[in-house]
Point group: C2
Chain length 184, copies 2
């Protein structure tokens, strides 16, 4: 591969997939990248469920959209869905998060999802991280036990097109400062 | 560089730094990797403050530890601290997060911090993401305006040693399942 920054530039949230199936060994490497991600107090508050059985996958995809919020309907086309289970942080991180008014396990969830998605690009795949879905239904469909949440769903597959659309981002001047908020 | 998975394996939370200063162009590339990170509804709920002025840096470092919680004291040694400002998500993501009981901006914060930290490894640097610090003091020191939080502090510098310690992680069998929670 090229440098990491090139990988970042190539990555985009893929919402159109070709029908091509994804080999499990590719998924395994994406999972490995996520498994090695850092987390607060090394709590690793996550588990990944690979959903590639077609009937089940459709059921899970249908939790991500509805008539009033249709924007995730594309998930029906993705050959693989990854449901990221969110656990509570370990006790030290939970107490820390409570004292600092910050749910560390959500930050950790983002880190692991980023690792997964970047490895997907490395594999020639594309991914899209979804936070919007009916968590209760997902938990029921996949048998996620009480006390654990369905944190994210990641769609995975070969992009319909290899071209990365232009990224719309804040300009660097509105994004980074030196030694004081608002400085140039 | 080598493949992305190798970068992930090489990465670790660096808590010992050599005294070697870090060129701003290296920091700029880490910032660029973070700037291009995805976020819910493309809200980009973040801004990055580079703190490399020694006096100021020490003040910020001293917000990360105290007599009862000394574990972040190593931050005094890091030649650069990055304070990641956390903004509210945009309105659509805020409503979505409220309805789904998930603070999307914290997940986004993790994604951007992961991008930053991985580019740091690519640059031969090391980083450690800290969630534990006195937010009120950090906001005051850096002039972070009302309505924005200090979300994370990332320590940055050259690692004292090039060797990556062994990572302690859940075994794959406890980490990933296929098509049903708890399956092999």
């Amino acid at each position: 591969m090229v440098g990491f920054l090139e990988l970042v530039k190539k990555r985009y949230s893929v919402r159109r997939y070709s029908g091509r199936p994804v080999a499990r060994e590719k998924i395994a490497r994406c999972l490995e990248a996520a498994r090695l991600a850092p987390s607060a107090c090394n709590a690793q508050p996550w588990q990944f469920i690979v959903v590639d059985e077609p009937g089940l996958r459709e059921k899970v995809a249908r939790t991500t959209f509805g008539p009033l919020a249709p924007f995730n309907k594309f998930s029906l086309q993705a050959p693989v869905l990854i449901v990221v289970v969110l656990e509570k942080s370990n006790l030290v991180a939970q107490i820390g998060g409570f004292l600092r008014k910050k749910e560390f396990n959500l930050i950790d969830l983002g880190i692991a999802a980023a690792h997964f998605s970047l490895q997907a690009v490395e594999e020639g795949l594309g991914a899209c991280i979804l936070g919007w879905f009916d968590e209760k239904r997902v938990r029921k469909i996949l048998g996620i036990p009480h006390g654990k949440r369905a944190g994210l769903i990641i769609t995975l597959g070969y992009p319909e097109t290899g071209e990365t659309p232009e990224k719309k981002r804040k300009p660097p001047s509105a994004f980074r400062f030196y030694n004081r908020y608002g400085s140039g």
